[in-house]
């Protein structure tokens, strides 16, 4: 009895228990609603199925969430420009590769150059946000609002207000799949971003620095940390992530539509961080939690599509589920749950004694 109890305590006390439980909940609803949810088929040597779709479509969100996690942890604020920055990065990439033409079927510049240009522009945008937040001490939401609005405008300037199409098979591979590989490429990109970030956090002291600055920036300075630099770096890193995500988004549709690329994804990214059990006030964070949060959101979106709910109505259903999940994770609810568990178990022991 007591052994099983302590076991339950151990499991529920685990930091990622709630995010995982939420993901599980969404998946179970999926299976009930769509029994074929976990079915995987192979077509043309590529895996297909709802679950593959979730993992595939969730890639951009995972990458956004990784960057957002660090920004939130270090500054206690959010970067709301990530969607717009990804559109800008996509536009720059397409512009470089198409040589300014509106539609092309061959590269005008080396592919690698396009990739580097996109990541570089993401990094510059991130650095700009970081400068405003860390150096000038502007509220993160206000500081990143600048690129949130201006980012897509700049992208339009670059593309001259038109969509740019890159009808090159090679260009599509990043967003679709590489011949002979059964899993879509974005999955690998997301995994690589997560693993590299994880290594960076584990093998250097930057993770500890970020948590320290996020918890108490005054104390952080007095123990010899450069809070400004650390916050600046997290925003820059977040910009790089946006650049990478922008590349995937562009490649999926082998074109850039500056108005719609990455639209509203910043909100999903922030939500992913919160669903991962991270405090939006900064401080301690769990990268893995955010990744789980991102997949939860994507699973939800895919479910709603699978239930053939129209794209316009999806936000409503999403909001309902999010309310439930956030409530489940709130400290007040946790208190109530604990009180309830205590009541039940004490009732049980009384019964046993009787």
């Amino acid at each position: 009895m007591s052994k099983s109890k302590s076991m339950i305590k151990k499991v529920t006390g685990f930091r990622l228990f709630l995010p995982l439980a939420c993901l599980f909940l969404v998946l179970i609803i999926n299976v009930i609603k769509t029994p074929s949810f976990f079915n995987i088929t192979i077509q043309n040597g590529v895996l297909y199925g709802y679950i593959i779709d979730v993992i595939n479509r969730g890639s951009e969100l995972v990458i956004f969430a990784v960057g957002m996690t660090l920004v939130v942890a270090a500054s206690g604020g959010t970067d709301i420009s990530v969607g717009a920055v990804s559109a800008l990065a996509g536009a720059v990439c397409c512009f470089v590769l198409s040589g300014g033409e509106q539609s092309t079927d061959f590269y005008h510049a080396p592919y690698l150059l396009g990739i580097i240009a996109a990541i570089l522009i993401g990094m510059i945008c991130g650095a700009w946000n970081g400068f405003l937040v860390a150096k000038l001490r502007i509220q993160p939401m206000v500081a990143t609002l600048i690129l949130f609005t201006a980012g897509r405008g700049i992208a339009q300037l670059i593309t001259d207000g038109q969509m740019i199409y890159l009808r090159v098979d090679h260009f599509k591979m990043l967003g679709a799949s590489i011949p002979g590989v059964p899993l879509p490429t974005p999955v690998f990109v997301a995994i690589i971003v997560v693993i590299l970030t994880y290594i960076l956090l584990k093998k250097t002291a930057i993770g500890l620095y970020i948590e320290t600055v996020g918890c108490n920036s005054k104390a952080a300075r007095l123990v010899g940390l450069n809070s400004t630099m650390i916050q600046f770096l997290t925003y820059t890193f977040c910009g790089i992530c946006s650049g990478i995500a922008g590349l995937i988004i562009t490649s999926r549709v082998y074109s850039i539509d500056a108005n719609n690329a990455g639209l509203n994804l910043e909100l999903d990214a922030i939500l992913a961080v919160a669903l991962g059990g991270n405090s939006l006030g900064g401080g301690k964070f769990s990268l893995l939690g955010s990744v789980i949060g991102a997949y939860t959101i994507q699973a939800l979106t895919t479910t709603l599509y699978a239930m053939s709910i129209s794209a316009d109505q999806i936000p409503v259903y999403k909001a309902i589920v999010v309310v439930i999940i956030v409530t489940l994770q709130s400290p007040e609810f946790q208190k109530m749950r604990k009180a309830l568990v205590a009541k039940i178990s004490s009732g049980k022991t009384v019964k046993e004694a009787a």
Binding site: K203, A205, N216, A219, A220, V223
Partner: protein, 507 residues
Amino acid sequence: MDNNAILTMRHISKNFPGVVALSDVDFTLRSGEIHALMGENGAGKSTLIKVLTGVEEFEAGNIRMQGMEHDIINKSPQMAQENGISTVYQEVNLCPNLSVAENLFIGREPKKAGMIDWKTMNKKSVEILGNLNIDIDVTRSLEHYSLALQQMIAIARAVDMSAKVLILDEPTSSLDEHEVEKLFQLMRQLKANGVGIVFVTHFLEQVYEICDRITVLRNGCLVGEYEVENLPRVQLVAKMMGKDFDDLSAIKKDQTACNKKECESIIEAKGLYHAGTIKPFDLVLKKGEVIGLSGLLGSGRSELARAIYGADKPDDGELFVKGTKILVSAPIDAMKHGMGYLPENRKEEGIIPELSVRENIVIALQAKKGMFKLLSKKEQEEFTDKYIELLQIKTASRETPIKQLSGGNQQKVILGRWLLTNPDFLILDEPTRGIDIGTKTEIQKLVLKLASEGMSVMFISSEIEEMIRTCSRMIVLRDGRKVGELEENELSQMSIMKAIAGGGENE
């Protein structure tokens, strides 16, 4: 049963996970008395008050207020207030940017036709404060007034909300002597009005000056309730610590390790200046010396330390470490030259609340080493265990978040953080503030031990006795200027007071 008792708490018990915070504690408060609640950190004082004011729930026992038929259980501070129990904390919980009158009436503003009746509010505020002999402009914002006045305003507010029981939790920790005296006048007046006051403090002198009775707690248990005149100081301390009184004055410095003239100078400041806080300042600090900075609050004693450490960048002046000139633009530069700094405000500038004891200890060393030289998990754990043992830090484990530790243990963690960086020069700004006597003694002993091993220490404290015991030389500041320097043989309470007050000047 005490007829005059305004508040009785009986058999109160409370458990925190793994810890018995209160076990079968009784507490009785009479109307018109000032009752000291004493005990070391972790004795259960705060928990008892939290239970009484509804911040925490209790598991067993009952609380009864005079004139009420039934036991009361306060579920929230608001409910406690409705039952006539108000609390004023060390940190004033008012809104600094609102006016004094607004602060007095926040949440219960007098209204006229649905709008706030400013005229009545200001008039009433003047009355309330007038009754307590406080004469100030109630329309100015609260932040214009000193901390002491803010505290009195908080008390006035509490009393005006028909408090029969007033709890003062360490109200004097950040006040200077003059302000304390004012606060005491106010307390005496409230006492005459029949209010029962619970006074939580670490200062023995104050207990003997103002209190009628004392309740002593230790490790969550009641030790006893005493009349002040029947309990000599030494016995009070013995009861709090539960062991024979380790006489503080028994700590004696060894003779200063070496002749000062021969000793190498560690820190030398020339014309150090920070606009608004310190005037150009010269200072020489030798190896193995414990130098005291004394003066009233705002005299520049903390500001000088901060300027040396680079916490506030000095506007002018030169700093030499072991004879070489250095540039300090941020604390990390000072750390690289072997300095460490334990800040005055532990909560705001010292601890990193959410992080573990381990992370709080290694962070300074890790910052010094740089981002890419991560201390291995094993090293971190070894260091942490070493300082937990050396400083006898009471913590459930090394992974416990520091915010769950008591104040004294938090301070020890921060001390450990700096000792781990192995500094040549350690600045301790009020290291013993808000800490129980046992830990105080330990810290003082540690300072002397470190100095005898060759570390230079700058010691800042408002308690002159403590300074006399630990310092080998003392610098007295007033208005950001050095007004006196006392050698070890000249150190006495009288000489320091004289230097602080200033010879012959009317201040």
